[in-house]
Symmetry: C2
Subunit: 561 residues, 2 copies
């Protein structure tokens, strides 16, 4: 008898699982069930469709050579039988049967399986909001939404995005590019919570504000107002006029079917799976947004739904469901977005996440050009590395800037997967030529500073702490060691100038017992100044992490000569 | 007494070692000796200075904030005493003394050291060539050469580059951009030997020919002709007219001083060092182009001089010379270049290198867009992965294309450093959003194909082998499974068309016992076709590695409908 594999959900994970199962076991009968009308589309491309960056929605549903991945394609090319527009109503594990309901014909029927793969995805998770049902309040999860939103982008004037995460920011840019006034409302006290630490997020916030987007953080949405269609967003801090609202909150896994069938749900609320993507029922696998996975740094279960992970898990589930053997170890929560011309990404743990997990952390904030500084088109990026002080192990990297952020995130992701220490990261043999990086790549420089900090040679202080000391009127010296020209152009109010080259000669002019915070553009000269002062017997010298370039507060412009 | 550290050679490695030694041990007396007049310049930037991409040669010698890294800078900022224009004549290890000769004043003097760091660099390695002393025969190793070459680039008409390696290709582009006719002469049978396998190198060769550069491979230069200045290059295959010649051969380490002092020279001909960069004399360290290092894949000693490695080694040598403790494990031979608009890089071993080391290898050739295929500006890149068949361990990656090659090389370098297998590579949590990659990054796709090959599910055949079979008139079916439109536009002469979507219906039209080679644009559909034919009982089916996109031979244009 033929092995019957049924896959529920035909987006990234499900489509992959079905194709792979059939390819591995050509004699299996593979059926792919989808409640919507579209299968295997690139949901991540929706903001680009809204902004007209991608002209035709079909491109999101096509293979790289332009073949639309529809039911006929799956049937002919993949040998997979596809049923769309059909809801899975229930799952009987005893009889290995799923109950189906075809929506258009209102026909109920059932299907038996030998192996079942759940790829039921996730849904936006929203608290009950007043007047949620008004018109022009949209999400950006499905192709249908995208088309509606695109219509709105033409006729609307003011958009409000609820949620300052990846999708929220991408959508904000898309609508701004279409000429709308855009406000992002985020409940937490920063953009991109869970992805960036506050000082890194503030670099992104500054950039999107410069591009004309309003940002309201620490602001909870209570509901909406309007007649028929929305005309304002009600927040705890007042009203925001809006004729189109996009809900871009976090998502929750779709586990109703699994839960009702008695499958184990994990601590994250997603379907519990082992490394073979097997659920608590040996005949049932799960993959993609509906299931949890293991974080490779903490070893704990997490739910981080992403298209890239869905594909990998789908492949593993497909192989195992068709009788093969494959495992998936876990993820690092790697995330990235481009918004206007800034790139922001992370892999592993942020400082906040690491502290919450109980790590004693050391961090480094290192801005620098992304190519050889003399190479035209070099653009700055700021890296933040987080390490475990006890072992020197790298826990995470964040990267923000107009330059090639993704490259550093990917290299760090590979290194962190294997438990790299700061020393190992600093010695990676990365590709060097002037169009690609400095002789010492940003990642190498950051790792070197981290080593200096871990060894106690370098002592940094965070911008946040220095800002606090300035605000409190603390008695310390903020020492700018840049050139007079740099100092004149831009600076931090309250700083004293002694260029690094003159520091050895001017030691007498500084008090040895006072706290001194040195800084320069990016912190390397600040660190050299700290070493010179240390050697001369100064007792309390630190350098400002990240220098002027990642100072997230107001800078003095001009007038400092 | 103060620790006296003397560093010989003030380019990347030496300058780094001296600065680091002083920073780690501020009470040390650090002296940096350089025979030339310039210190710490970016030699890798020279081709960009020649092409006017970098306007001022000073930029190559400056810090990112524009401070020239000259003797005064090192003295004032780094606290390092610099002596330029001074040759080290000999080294007496007994008395720990170096004999110096200042060229301008013709003054001989000596200097005692407690710790010595050799950073004597490397020199172009050329066999004796007839009339080598003619004018306008230049190298691109020093700033002085760069200025001469730039002059020649203005007045010259025909340039000949001897050597088809990284520097040769970068210089060829620079001179072509200045309007010269350019011919590259390479003794080996391909460009970029030691960096790319032949089929990958041929993609680069095709690109630079399209940009108007002539390429002569398998061609040895015998000498030059001309009166006073060169006017032709004499090769074993005839003469090449040229009014400027650039010698860009491999380099050999400068070990004369070390050899004469009786220091151990390693099997590669470079100074032997341990992981602390220590030589056979406990008071002497070496770093940069003059010493050898360990290849992290083979564990064998290699000599791969690169600015990125020099900086890392210099740091380690500087720390150890000043009484600290640091180690450097080794390298992967990672290399990269941009020539015109193509990027080409590698890390780890090429297939040829791996076979020469005795590995039983499996390879995959995988071309695909570097971003989501629907994202504007996505450009193709071709990856070649090389793995050890016995363990599945990744031995190397090569990448060529107009897209973001460096990112994949760096991620692979990090993974290979830690001994990643194909399975581990395929599960890396790389950063995904449409502006950066497809949901399955090129590296993930390549690793997945590799896994299919290692498991025996996928059977590839190299373009070279298929070309041979076509040339020999072998009896096999070359099966194009693309769409009729794709087939009509471009193809391989002699191929039969059955689109993938029609293959399951047309199985009857194909003979089951004949050898069949399937292909598509990039080989994924080719692989699917192989699986369909396998399942239907066909006995000898393979797919063409890399498909049309990496077919290095002539393609049929049009007329195939």
């Amino acid at each position: 008898m033929k092995l019957r594999v049924v896959v529920i959900g035909a987006n990234a994970a499900g489509a992959k699982a079905a194709s792979k199962a059939k390819r591995m076991n050509p004699h299996a009968e593979v059926t792919l069930i989808e409640r919507g009308n579209f299968i295997s589309y690139g949901a991540c491309g929706i903001p680009y469709f809204v902004s007209d960056t991608v002209a035709d929605v079909k491109e999101l549903m096509s293979t790289p050579v332009g073949v639309v991945r529809d039911a006929a394609f799956f049937n002919k090319v993949k040998g997979v039988h596809v049923i769309t527009g059909t809801e899975v109503v229930s799952l009987d594990r005893q009889s290995r049967t799923v109950q189906l309901f075809e929506k258009e014909s209102a026909k109920a029927f059932s299907l038996e399986y030998d192996r079942l793969v759940l790829a039921t995805g996730s849904s936006p998770s929203l608290p009950p909001l007043k007047n949620r049902d008004l018109g022009n309040i949209l999400t950006v999860k499905a192709i249908e939404d995208a088309e509606l939103l695109k219509e709105r982008a033409v006729t609307g004037k003011r958009a409000c995005i609820v949620g300052g995460g990846l999708i929220g920011l991408e959508t904000a840019e898309a609508l701004r590019q279409k000429g709308l006034e855009v406000t992002i409302v985020e409940m937490r006290d920063q953009l991109l919570p869970g992805i960036l630490d506050p000082e890194m997020a503030s670099l992104v916030e500054r950039h999107i504000r410069q591009n004309g987007v309003e940002v309201e953080t620490s602001c909870r949405v209570a509901g909406f107002d309007g007649t028929g269609v929305v005309n304002k967003v009600l927040t705890e801090r007042g009203e925001i006029p809006a004729d189109v609202v996009v809900l871009a909150p976090g998502v929750t896994p779709n586990v109703k079917l699994a839960k009702e069938a008695g499958l184990e749900i994990g601590p994250t609320g997603a379907i519990a799976v082992d490394s073979r993507m097997g659920t608590s029922d040996p005949a049932i696998y799960a993959c993609g947004d509906c299931c949890e996975t293991t974080h490779l740094v903490t070893g704990k279960k997490v739910h981080v739904p992403l298209g890239s992970t869905a594909n990998k898990q789908g492949r593993v589930a497909g192989i195992n469901a068709s009788g093969g053997e494959a495992t998936f170890a876990g993820i690092l929560g790697t995330s990235i977005l481009r918004v206007f011309s800034v790139n922001a990404g992370k892999t592993g743990l942020t400082e906040s996440e690491a502290r919450a997990q109980g790590y004693d952390v050391e961090t480094v904030l290192s801005p620098a050009p992304d190519k050889a500084h003399f190479f035209p088109g070099a653009k700055p990026i700021a890296l933040k590395l987080v390490a475990d002080r006890a072992t020197g192990r790298i826990l995470g990297l964040q990267a923000v800037g107009e330059g090639a952020v993704d490259k550093r995130v990917d290299a760090a992701a590979a290194a962190i997967t294997f438990g790299a220490t700061a020393d190992q990261l600093s010695h990676l043999d990365l590709a060097y030529a002037p169009p690609y990086s400095a002789a010492m790549d940003n990642l190498i420089v950051a790792a070197d500073i981290l080593k200096n900090k871990l060894a106690g040679h370098a002592r940094g202080i965070s911008p946040r702490k220095v800002r606090q000391m300035l605000d409190d009127g603390d008695d310390f010296i903020l020492l700018d060691v840049r050139s007079p020209a740099e100092h004149a152009e831009v600076g931090i109010e309250g700083a004293t100038l002694i260029p690094l080259g003159a520091l050895r000669e001017k030691l007498e002019s500084l008090p040895k017992d006072k706290e001194i915070v040195t800084f320069c553009k990016i912190s390397l000269r600040g660190y050299e100044a700290q070493k010179i002062l240390d050697a001369a017997g100064f007792r309390d010298v630190k350098f400002l992490d990240g220098g002027i370039m990642t100072w997230p507060y107001e800078l003095r412009r001009g007038g400092g000569a």
